[in-house]
Protein backbone atom coordinates (compact mmCIF):
# COMPACT_ATOMS: atom_id res chain seq x y z
CA UNK A 1 0.00 0.00 0.00
CA UNK A 2 1.14 3.48 -0.78
CA UNK A 3 1.38 5.44 2.46
CA UNK A 4 2.51 8.73 0.96
CA UNK A 5 -0.98 10.20 1.35
CA UNK A 6 -0.71 9.55 5.08
CA UNK A 7 2.48 11.56 5.34
CA UNK A 8 0.97 14.29 3.23
CA UNK A 9 -2.03 14.35 5.51
CA UNK A 10 0.32 14.96 8.40
CA UNK A 11 1.73 18.03 6.70
CA UNK A 12 -0.01 21.23 7.80
CA UNK A 13 1.14 23.00 4.66
CA UNK A 14 -0.43 20.41 2.37
CA UNK A 15 -3.62 20.43 4.40
CA UNK A 16 -3.83 24.22 4.35
CA UNK A 17 -3.54 24.29 0.57
CA UNK A 18 -5.97 21.48 -0.17
CA UNK A 19 -8.57 22.64 2.37
CA UNK A 20 -8.51 26.08 0.82
CA UNK A 21 -9.49 24.51 -2.49
CA UNK A 22 -12.18 22.32 -0.95
CA UNK A 23 -13.87 24.98 1.19
CA UNK A 24 -15.90 26.79 -1.51
CA UNK A 25 -17.28 23.48 -2.78
CA UNK A 26 -18.33 22.26 0.64
CA UNK A 27 -19.86 25.64 1.42
CA UNK A 28 -21.87 25.71 -1.81
CA UNK A 29 -23.00 22.09 -1.37
CA UNK A 30 -23.92 22.64 2.28
CA UNK A 31 -25.96 25.78 1.70
CA UNK A 32 -27.74 24.30 -1.29
CA UNK A 33 -28.55 20.99 0.43
CA UNK A 34 -29.82 22.68 3.59
CA UNK A 35 -31.89 25.16 1.64
CA UNK A 36 -33.53 22.58 -0.61
CA UNK A 37 -33.89 20.09 2.24
CA UNK A 38 -35.57 22.47 4.67
CA UNK A 39 -37.89 24.03 2.08
CA UNK A 40 -38.87 20.55 0.98
CA UNK A 41 -39.26 19.28 4.53
CA UNK A 42 -41.22 22.29 5.75
CA UNK A 43 -43.44 23.03 2.77
CA UNK A 44 -43.78 19.95 0.59
CA UNK A 45 -43.29 16.80 2.65
CA UNK A 46 -46.63 15.31 3.73
CA UNK A 47 -47.79 15.46 7.35
CA UNK A 48 -47.19 12.53 9.63
CA UNK A 49 -50.45 10.70 10.20
CA UNK A 50 -49.84 10.51 13.97
CA UNK A 51 -47.68 13.51 14.81
CA UNK A 52 -49.04 16.00 12.28
CA UNK A 53 -46.70 18.87 11.48
CA UNK A 54 -44.50 18.60 14.57
CA UNK A 55 -42.69 15.73 12.85
CA UNK A 56 -41.05 18.31 10.54
CA UNK A 57 -38.56 18.86 13.34
CA UNK A 58 -37.08 15.50 12.27
CA UNK A 59 -35.36 17.29 9.36
CA UNK A 60 -33.02 19.05 11.75
CA UNK A 61 -33.14 16.79 14.79
CA UNK A 62 -31.93 13.59 13.13
CA UNK A 63 -29.14 15.20 11.02
CA UNK A 64 -27.83 17.06 14.08
CA UNK A 65 -27.84 13.85 16.12
CA UNK A 66 -26.03 11.98 13.32
CA UNK A 67 -23.33 14.61 13.05
CA UNK A 68 -23.00 14.89 16.84
CA UNK A 69 -22.21 11.18 17.09
CA UNK A 70 -20.03 10.95 13.96
CA UNK A 71 -18.08 13.94 15.20
CA UNK A 72 -17.38 12.17 18.47
CA UNK A 73 -16.17 9.05 16.65
CA UNK A 74 -13.96 11.35 14.58
CA UNK A 75 -12.51 12.81 17.80
CA UNK A 76 -11.66 9.33 19.05
CA UNK A 77 -10.04 8.37 15.73
CA UNK A 78 -8.09 11.63 15.69
CA UNK A 79 -7.07 10.91 19.28
CA UNK A 80 -5.71 7.48 18.36
CA UNK A 81 -3.91 8.82 15.27
CA UNK A 82 -2.46 11.66 17.32
CA UNK A 83 -1.25 9.38 20.12
CA UNK A 84 0.10 6.57 17.96
CA UNK A 85 1.63 8.46 15.03
CA UNK A 86 2.09 11.79 16.78
CA UNK A 87 0.41 13.51 13.90
CA UNK A 88 0.09 17.20 14.70
CA UNK A 89 -2.82 17.64 12.35
CA UNK A 90 -4.84 15.03 14.27
CA UNK A 91 -4.55 17.11 17.43
CA UNK A 92 -5.62 20.21 15.55
CA UNK A 93 -8.63 18.31 14.18
CA UNK A 94 -9.57 17.02 17.64
CA UNK A 95 -9.37 20.47 19.18
CA UNK A 96 -11.32 22.16 16.40
CA UNK A 97 -14.05 19.53 16.01
CA UNK A 98 -14.99 19.34 19.71
CA UNK A 99 -16.92 22.65 19.89
CA UNK A 100 -18.80 21.86 16.66
CA UNK A 101 -19.77 18.46 18.04
CA UNK A 102 -20.98 20.11 21.24
CA UNK A 103 -23.13 22.53 19.24
CA UNK A 104 -24.60 19.68 17.17
CA UNK A 105 -25.45 17.77 20.35
CA UNK A 106 -27.03 20.96 21.66
CA UNK A 107 -29.21 21.24 18.53
CA UNK A 108 -30.23 17.58 18.80
CA UNK A 109 -31.16 17.97 22.48
CA UNK A 110 -33.02 21.26 22.14
CA UNK A 111 -34.98 20.34 19.02
CA UNK A 112 -35.72 16.97 20.63
CA UNK A 113 -37.07 18.68 23.72
CA UNK A 114 -39.23 21.02 21.61
CA UNK A 115 -40.47 18.05 19.60
CA UNK A 116 -41.16 16.13 22.80
CA UNK A 117 -43.64 18.69 24.09
CA UNK A 118 -46.40 18.18 21.48
CA UNK A 119 -45.55 14.49 21.01
CA UNK A 120 -44.99 13.17 24.55
CA UNK A 121 -46.47 16.09 26.49
CA UNK A 122 -43.15 16.91 28.15
CA UNK A 123 -39.90 18.62 27.24
CA UNK A 124 -37.68 16.21 29.09
CA UNK A 125 -37.72 12.72 30.53
CA UNK A 126 -34.80 10.70 31.85
CA UNK A 127 -35.16 8.28 28.99
CA UNK A 128 -32.07 6.24 27.99
CA UNK A 129 -31.61 7.94 24.62
CA UNK A 130 -32.02 11.44 26.02
CA UNK A 131 -29.75 10.76 28.97
CA UNK A 132 -26.99 9.22 26.85
CA UNK A 133 -27.13 12.22 24.50
CA UNK A 134 -26.80 14.53 27.51
CA UNK A 135 -23.74 12.53 28.55
CA UNK A 136 -22.36 13.08 25.04
CA UNK A 137 -22.76 16.83 25.53
CA UNK A 138 -20.90 16.64 28.84
CA UNK A 139 -18.14 14.58 27.21
CA UNK A 140 -17.71 17.33 24.63
CA UNK A 141 -17.63 19.94 27.42
CA UNK A 142 -15.06 17.83 29.24
CA UNK A 143 -12.80 17.61 26.19
CA UNK A 144 -13.07 21.36 25.53
CA UNK A 145 -12.43 22.26 29.16
CA UNK A 146 -9.52 19.83 29.51
CA UNK A 147 -7.93 21.21 26.35
CA UNK A 148 -8.17 24.74 27.68
CA UNK A 149 -7.10 23.94 31.23
CA UNK A 150 -3.70 22.52 30.24
CA UNK A 151 -1.46 25.18 28.78
CA UNK A 152 1.28 22.84 27.55
CA UNK A 153 0.27 21.96 24.01
CA UNK A 154 1.67 18.39 24.02
CA UNK A 155 0.17 17.45 27.37
CA UNK A 156 -3.15 19.01 26.50
CA UNK A 157 -3.27 17.11 23.20
CA UNK A 158 -2.52 13.81 24.96
CA UNK A 159 -5.07 14.34 27.72
CA UNK A 160 -7.89 15.31 25.35
CA UNK A 161 -7.03 12.37 23.06
CA UNK A 162 -7.32 9.93 25.98
CA UNK A 163 -10.64 11.40 27.12
CA UNK A 164 -11.99 11.28 23.56
CA UNK A 165 -11.00 7.62 23.19
CA UNK A 166 -12.42 6.56 26.56
CA UNK A 167 -15.67 8.42 25.99
CA UNK A 168 -16.38 6.66 22.70
CA UNK A 169 -17.97 3.85 24.74
CA UNK A 170 -20.98 6.14 25.01
CA UNK A 171 -21.62 6.01 21.25
CA UNK A 172 -22.91 2.40 21.05
CA UNK A 173 -24.93 3.12 24.20
CA UNK A 174 -26.66 6.00 22.40
CA UNK A 175 -27.22 3.89 19.31
CA UNK A 176 -28.68 0.85 21.06
CA UNK A 177 -30.39 2.71 23.91
CA UNK A 178 -33.73 2.53 22.09
CA UNK A 179 -33.38 -1.26 21.74
CA UNK A 180 -31.86 -2.12 25.13
CA UNK A 181 -34.25 -0.12 27.25
CA UNK A 182 -37.95 0.24 26.77
CA UNK A 183 -37.86 3.96 26.20
CA UNK A 184 -40.11 6.77 25.19
CA UNK A 185 -37.85 7.74 22.32
CA UNK A 186 -38.92 6.24 19.02
CA UNK A 187 -36.59 3.68 17.35
CA UNK A 188 -34.21 4.61 14.54
CA UNK A 189 -35.76 6.13 11.45
CA UNK A 190 -33.00 4.86 9.20
CA UNK A 191 -31.41 1.44 9.21
CA UNK A 192 -28.62 0.64 6.81
CA UNK A 193 -29.93 -2.84 6.11
CA UNK A 194 -33.57 -1.99 5.54
CA UNK A 195 -35.58 0.28 3.37
CA UNK A 196 -36.88 3.28 5.30
CA UNK A 197 -40.37 2.86 6.72
CA UNK A 198 -41.27 6.33 5.45
CA UNK A 199 -42.49 7.24 1.98
CA UNK A 200 -39.90 8.68 -0.40
CA UNK A 201 -41.22 12.23 -0.22
CA UNK A 202 -40.61 12.14 3.53
CA UNK A 203 -37.16 10.59 3.70
CA UNK A 204 -35.55 12.17 0.64
CA UNK A 205 -35.52 15.67 2.18
CA UNK A 206 -34.16 14.07 5.35
CA UNK A 207 -31.30 12.57 3.35
CA UNK A 208 -30.56 15.99 1.83
CA UNK A 209 -30.54 17.56 5.29
CA UNK A 210 -28.19 14.88 6.66
CA UNK A 211 -25.76 15.49 3.78
CA UNK A 212 -26.14 19.25 4.24
CA UNK A 213 -25.34 19.02 7.94
CA UNK A 214 -22.23 16.95 7.20
CA UNK A 215 -21.15 19.48 4.56
CA UNK A 216 -21.63 22.40 6.94
CA UNK A 217 -19.81 20.52 9.69
CA UNK A 218 -16.89 20.08 7.28
CA UNK A 219 -16.95 23.78 6.39
CA UNK A 220 -16.85 24.85 10.02
CA UNK A 221 -14.15 22.29 10.85
CA UNK A 222 -11.92 23.26 7.93
CA UNK A 223 -12.29 26.97 8.73
CA UNK A 224 -11.37 26.42 12.37
CA UNK A 225 -8.45 24.14 11.51
CA UNK A 226 -7.04 26.60 9.00
CA UNK A 227 -6.94 29.38 11.57
CA UNK A 228 -5.46 27.06 14.19
CA UNK A 229 -2.78 25.83 11.78
CA UNK A 230 -1.77 29.37 10.80
CA UNK A 231 -1.54 30.26 14.49
CA UNK A 232 0.64 27.25 15.28
CA UNK A 233 2.85 27.48 12.20
CA UNK A 234 3.34 31.23 12.24
CA UNK A 235 7.11 30.82 12.39
CA UNK A 236 7.33 28.78 9.20
CA UNK A 237 7.90 30.36 5.84
CA UNK A 238 4.86 28.93 4.08
CA UNK A 239 2.52 30.17 6.82
CA UNK A 240 4.01 33.65 6.62
CA UNK A 241 3.54 33.64 2.88
CA UNK A 242 -0.03 32.43 3.27
CA UNK A 243 -0.69 35.22 5.76
CA UNK A 244 0.84 37.69 3.32
CA UNK A 245 -1.86 36.79 0.82
CA UNK A 246 -4.62 37.22 3.40
CA UNK A 247 -3.54 40.70 4.49
Amino acid sequence: MNWSFFHKLGSPKWFFEISGRWLPWFTAAGVLLLLVGSVWGLFFAPQDYQQGNSFRIIYIHVPAAFVAQSCYIMLAVAGIVGLVWRMKLAHVALKCAAPIGAWMTFIALVTGAIWGKPTWGTYWVWDARLTSMLILLFLYFGIIALGQAISNRETSAKATAVLAIVGVVNIPIIKYSVDWWNTLHQPATFKITEKPAMPVEMWLPLLLMVLGFYALFTVSLLMRMRVEILRRENRTRWAREAMEKML
Binding site: L34, G52, F106, V110, V227
Partner: protein
Protein backbone atom coordinates in the same frame (compact mmCIF):
# COMPACT_ATOMS: atom_id res chain seq x y z
CA UNK B 1 -53.21 35.58 3.38
CA UNK B 2 -55.33 33.11 5.28
CA UNK B 3 -53.53 30.23 3.62
CA UNK B 4 -50.18 31.66 4.71
CA UNK B 5 -51.14 32.10 8.36
CA UNK B 6 -52.72 28.68 8.32
CA UNK B 7 -49.51 27.25 6.98
CA UNK B 8 -47.42 29.08 9.58
CA UNK B 9 -49.64 27.76 12.36
CA UNK B 10 -48.91 24.20 11.19
CA UNK B 11 -52.04 22.84 12.77
CA UNK B 12 -51.12 24.16 16.21
CA UNK B 13 -47.51 22.94 16.01
CA UNK B 14 -46.15 26.14 14.45
CA UNK B 15 -44.43 27.45 17.56
CA UNK B 16 -42.56 24.17 18.05
CA UNK B 17 -41.50 23.77 14.44
CA UNK B 18 -40.46 27.36 13.82
CA UNK B 19 -38.56 27.79 17.10
CA UNK B 20 -36.61 24.58 16.36
CA UNK B 21 -35.67 25.82 12.92
CA UNK B 22 -34.78 29.29 14.21
CA UNK B 23 -32.50 27.93 16.93
CA UNK B 24 -30.82 25.62 14.44
CA UNK B 25 -30.28 28.45 11.97
CA UNK B 26 -28.67 30.60 14.66
CA UNK B 27 -26.39 27.81 15.91
CA UNK B 28 -25.28 26.77 12.42
CA UNK B 29 -24.54 30.39 11.46
CA UNK B 30 -22.60 30.82 14.68
CA UNK B 31 -20.41 27.86 13.78
CA UNK B 32 -19.37 29.51 10.53
CA UNK B 33 -19.21 33.06 11.88
CA UNK B 34 -16.96 32.13 14.80
CA UNK B 35 -14.02 30.78 12.76
CA UNK B 36 -14.49 33.61 10.26
CA UNK B 37 -14.08 36.16 13.07
CA UNK B 38 -11.09 34.24 14.45
CA UNK B 39 -9.48 34.36 11.05
CA UNK B 40 -10.08 38.10 10.76
CA UNK B 41 -8.62 38.65 14.23
CA UNK B 42 -5.52 36.66 13.29
CA UNK B 43 -5.03 38.63 10.08
CA UNK B 44 -5.47 41.94 11.91
CA UNK B 45 -2.94 40.93 14.55
CA UNK B 46 -0.49 39.96 11.85
CA UNK B 47 -0.99 43.26 10.02
CA UNK B 48 -0.39 45.20 13.22
CA UNK B 49 2.73 43.17 13.98
CA UNK B 50 4.12 43.82 10.52
CA UNK B 51 3.47 47.53 10.78
CA UNK B 52 5.33 47.57 14.09
CA UNK B 53 8.28 45.79 12.53
CA UNK B 54 8.40 48.28 9.66
CA UNK B 55 8.77 51.31 11.91
Amino acid sequence: MNAVSEFLAMGGHGAFVWSSYAITLVVLSLNVLQPWLARRRLVNEEARRRRREMT
